[in-house]
């Protein structure tokens, strides 16, 4: 009985989480006239809204920009955060704990506080309307460092020493021993970073003005709020569906590692 009640609660929670996504998917598949009807049930579905999105805005280019930015950011966060995580977990040097405390401290500073100084820096570097403006500020993350440090601490020192004896330098130890042993952590950092980068709207709005440099969320926001969608709910939802599909695909593919990583590090995204 207790188990049944527990399952009922979990089902209710799952439905409340999934409902907005289902609603968005159904609305995006309805014809223009049906979109506002408010019911899931419809006599037929259409891809008309998706066609409208591709006709109205250069969504392909935005998709490419988002892919370039999100993948570059994810790769660099995994590389640089694991480098720092390795140093903080396994190398002995003066001030190691202080550096770690400073890294933790940066996690407590709201991102909005650093927007203005970052923007000023980007302008001075002449990176407005260029990929470096979208990638460079997010190439390393405190959250990534923390996850990698916690994971690497649990790897026995004997393995490092054995690898050193067998001819590895520190970078080789990281890439040949620590990375393969930390797949869940890498996937966790990867998915969280990819998701954050993919969904980022505010920063691209600040540093990108040319349409051909816009990322997906920026383009869709401009499209929906800026009036290009003509206020059509179905078209707006179709654009939003296009935005979330890559995230869902990545999660579905790496789900096992992601859950393992979150469970082992105790950190949520």
């Amino acid at each position: 009985m207790k188990k049944l009640a527990l399952y009922l609660i979990l089902i209710c929670a799952a439905v409340s989480f999934i409902y907005p996504f289902l609603w968005m998917a159904f609305i995006s598949l309805r014809s223009v006239g049906d979109a506002g009807a408010g019911s899931f049930l419809s006599s037929f579905f259409t891809l008309q809204n998706y066609k409208a999105v591709f006709m109205e805005i250069p969504i392909g280019r935005a998709l490419l920009n988002s892919a370039i930015v999100a993948l570059s950011t994810t790769a660099s966060v995994i590389f640089f955060s694991s480098l720092v995580g390795y140093a903080l977990a396994k190398l002995r040097f003066n001030g190691r704990e202080t550096v770690f405390m400073i890294v933790l401290l940066t996690m407590m500073i709201p991102g909005q506080l650093t927007l203005i100084p970052l923007y000023t820096l980007i302008v001075r570097l002449g990176w407005i309307d260029a990929y470096p403006a979208l990638i460079a500020p997010w190439m390393i993350s405190a959250m990534g460092i923390l996850i990698f440090r916690q994971t690497f601490i649990s790897i026995p020192d004997d393995l490092i020493e054995a690898a050193r004896m067998e001819g590895c330098g520190e970078l080789r130890i990281l890439t040949s021993i620590f990375w393969p042993l930390s797949k869940p952590a890498m996937v966790t950092v990867g998915i969280i970073t990819f998701m954050n980068s993919w969904n980022e709207v505010l920063w691209p709005m600040m540093v990108v003005r040319r349409q051909e440099m816009m990322t997906m969320p920026q383009m869709i926001t401009t499209f929906s709020v800026g009036g290009q969608s003509g206020g059509e709910l179905g078209v707006e939802m179709a654009a939003s569906m296009l935005l979330i599909i890559p995230i869902l695909a990545a999660y579905a593919f790496f789900q096992k590692y992601f859950i393992e990583g979150i469970a082992s590090t105790g950190i949520k995204g």
Binding site: P156, D158, E161, A162, R164, M165, E166, G167, P180
Partner: protein, 366 residues
Amino acid sequence: MAKVIFEKVVKRYPSGDRDTVRELSLTIDDGEFLVLVGPSGCGKSTILRMLAGLINVTAGKIFIDGKDITRLHPKDRDISMVFQNYALFPHLNVYDNIAFGLKMRGAPKKEIDDRVREAAALLGIVPLLHKKPKELSGGQSQRVAVGRAIVRRPKVFLFDEPLSNLDAKMRTQMRAEISRLHRRLKATAIYVTHDQCEAMTMADRMVVLHDGVIGQCGTPHEIYSAPRNTFVATFIGSPPMNLFAAQAVCEGAASGLKINNFVLPLPPLTAARLEIGSKYTFGIRPEHIYLADRVPPGVNSSVPLACEVELAESMGNDVVLHCNSGGLAFQASLKHDFPVKSGDKINVVFALDKSHVFDEKGERVA
């Protein structure tokens, strides 16, 4: 292979208030199997790790084949090491674990394959080559770790308590295998253990360490039969050597040691080295104590000493008796060919030609 020289090597950890290794000077000959033995914290693993380059030397120098390697990176020293916990890479199978060092050094694929298979055949682990470390038993893991060490054919092999995680039977088996392997490879090997049995059975020469200094260095037989001090005397040998506080006395024409209420006459050569009236420590190994009526021929025995058996521990072949004679407690290890039980009163004698005398500082006198 190679000759290894430690020249006044000192190690002090940043957090320590004293030196863990104090001015160690030691030469290990080409092809020698040297065992470093001592209790926990005596500095034996520190010495090994300094030689491996895993920790820095505070002062002094280390040479391999005349080349100063004190500041070299571990990978440039041409040394292999077998770790206590095997340190096999969990994500690689046995083949890749053994091949790891050769791959890192960019050896050709064909050579890697030949050498891995040769090492695996030597250690009898060919059927395990495709397995992951988690599928292996302790003994198999240790063989793989040894395989990884020998495949590179380094100048020096280091073993850091490699058998301590194995059960007693497997330990005995691996002990013999490592000894056979050493004889076959004729490699310079340095082996660290806290197990005196391993040290005695495997070593060409052993170093007993105490508090970061060499207590004694010599062949197992030298160390067993003529320990340099009371620490070595009690550390090597199981059960440990019995030590009694004593005073040199002269009774009539003969000199001897007074222990408790009885006087133990000593052989003239031993007695000549004692100063009458000074305090000494008398040592006798449990296996050099006999029942008074069962003394083997040719043994120069003491006068009988009456004692009570407080505890008799049967070891199968031998029996260890915990005896007490008027407050004087000692252990005797006797052949298990007579009935004896706790509470029995027996007479024992000491084999005087096997006895040891140490001065007040614990240094050997005779």
